[in-house]
């Protein structure tokens, strides 16, 4: 019963996830495209929750859907005025190349999944994915990458201020 419910919930998140991801590419209006990306982040967070990675799921929604995409949307809204719908590409070459590329990606994914075969399910430790467990890992084993990333972000902020403001 519980397994079946999990499968149902998986499809509830998986199908819209694929549709939203397709929407990002297919939508011709940049705002629609950005909103599809937000939806994709949200549904992907649902998949993370099913994998008992609650912390990752919420951080995904908080950082990507809630903060970064808002800024994207903000920029798109302010900078695109009037009808900015992209025209359909008339180039046959591009279409053919795109079709080949898509087919290649699908083939690689199908082959990889087939090669893997059925995976044995392993029990998850009770503290898996909790804030405490992830935090401990981040601040001990992965301390250097963590601090390096924060330094990178600081440099980026300083750079943005320098670029944006001529006189400081």
């Amino acid at each position: 019963m519980i397994d079946r419910a999990e499968v149902w919930v998986f499809w509830v998140f998986a199908v819209p996830l694929i549709m939203a991801s397709a929407g990002v590419v297919v939508a011709r209006n940049p705002v629609n495209s950005a909103m599809s990306l937000v939806a994709a982040f949200f549904f992907l967070a649902g998949i993370y929750v099913l994998l008992t990675a609650h912390l990752l799921a919420f951080l995904q929604v908080l950082v990507y859907a809630g903060a970064i995409m808002v800024l994207f949307l903000f920029v798109i809204m302010l900078l695109t005025t009037g009808d900015q719908d992209f025209e359909r590409t008339r180039l046959k070459v591009m279409q053919v190349a795109g079709a080949f590329g898509a087919a290649g990606v699908v083939a690689v994914v199908v082959l990889a999944v087939n090669r893997l075969g059925p995976m044995p399910m392993s029990a998850v430790p009770s503290n898996f994915g909790t804030v405490k467990a992830v935090g401990r890992l981040l601040y001990t084993q992965y301390l250097l990458p963590f601090e390096a990333t924060s330094l990178l972000l600081l440099v980026a902020i300083v750079g943005a201020v320098v670029v944006a403001k001529q006189r400081i």
Partner: protein
Amino acid sequence: MRRFLGMVLFAICVPLSMVLLGRAVYWLVAGAEYLATSLGAPPTYGAAIANVILLMLVFVMTTAALLTIGERKWSAMIQNRIGPNRIRVFGNSAGGIFFLAADALKMLTKENINPSQRSRVLYELAPMAAFAPSFALFAVVPVGPAVDSVVNGVRTTVALQVANIDAGLLFVFGIASLAVYGTALAGWASNSKLAILGGVRASSQMISYEVSLGLALVGSMMAYQSLRLEEMVRAQGQLLWGFLPALGFFLQPVGLLVFFVSAFAETKRTPFDLPEGESEIVGYFVEYPGMKFGMLFLAEFIEVVVLAAITAAIFFGGWHPVLFEGWLRENLSPIWFASVCAGAFLTKVLLLCWLQLIVRWTLPRFRFDQIQKLCWKVLLPVALANVFITGALILVDPSLELLGLVGLVEIAAMAVITAAVSRKVEVPAHAHAAAAAVAGH
């Protein structure tokens, strides 16, 4: 004198009715659990569904709807008016409650006028995107404690909380940050200059205040050693020096102030109501007719309820009744004690909603640069300093007593500062009575 007695009676009746409401909700949740297990569902499924329906739909929705009337009534009192009293049933206006039905009818039957140049899908999506996240936030709020009970011969615990997730506060931040899309899209999709101004103002304001909103709660997370709201509420039951409950209000007064201000900015209500400033740009919902406007409007009141609930849970002891708690625990049966706890929580939520109504009707609107300055130059540094000071104090004294002491000093300092900067306004003695007489009180 009669008026005073009436007020005392009202003040007693509200918590009592909330306790009875809590008892009823416990009874219904246990009943749903019984029904579900009888039908063959796994344990806790029935209780979860009942919690979703009763807490998220019935409680939040009813409170939000009643707040629309409450706000009109309170604004009328503050401005010395009578307020809604034109709709009467059997000659009784019943405090304007009937306006609820009138509003619903009006919104549902209005002509559906849509701007022709709108972005079709997003225009319809925006009210839902504003409405849904505020609801979802209530999922992690612990309304009542867990009670052991035997349902269908199986020992289970029944709690008034939809989801007790490990990263509860992060869920709150994540879902709260999604609320931006409703307003931003409503502004953009209706293709109107005033609406897009409102939408842009709303999104810039909301993403700014999200930062201080998150930082303000870091101190509480450190003090209670958890992000799980249920554990944070439980931790507030411990006593400092044997008598002072370790409420967030005492441990984190600065955190409370910053959180409340930032969350108030997130609800976009009056000191922060630039996105909808009626006197200048009407707002992001200017092009929405009927119930679509109603959803955007109601989303604001749902946010008020949810903000009150989260503040009550983290800073005011959640479901701890605080007063006479030990006596109540000893002399009541577990289920009635739990009901008293739920009643205490609901009463706190109502009080905080009322506080928000008062703030909305007493403070004037900020200017836009003042809003950004308040966020980035006042609240953010204060919240950061609070994080560091709290961390240092907990490191020095893990029993939280030092933190409590500093908290009390901070409260005293805030009181002194408030008293020092408050201005005495001379009101002629007869003016108030005359105004009241004119207004018909």
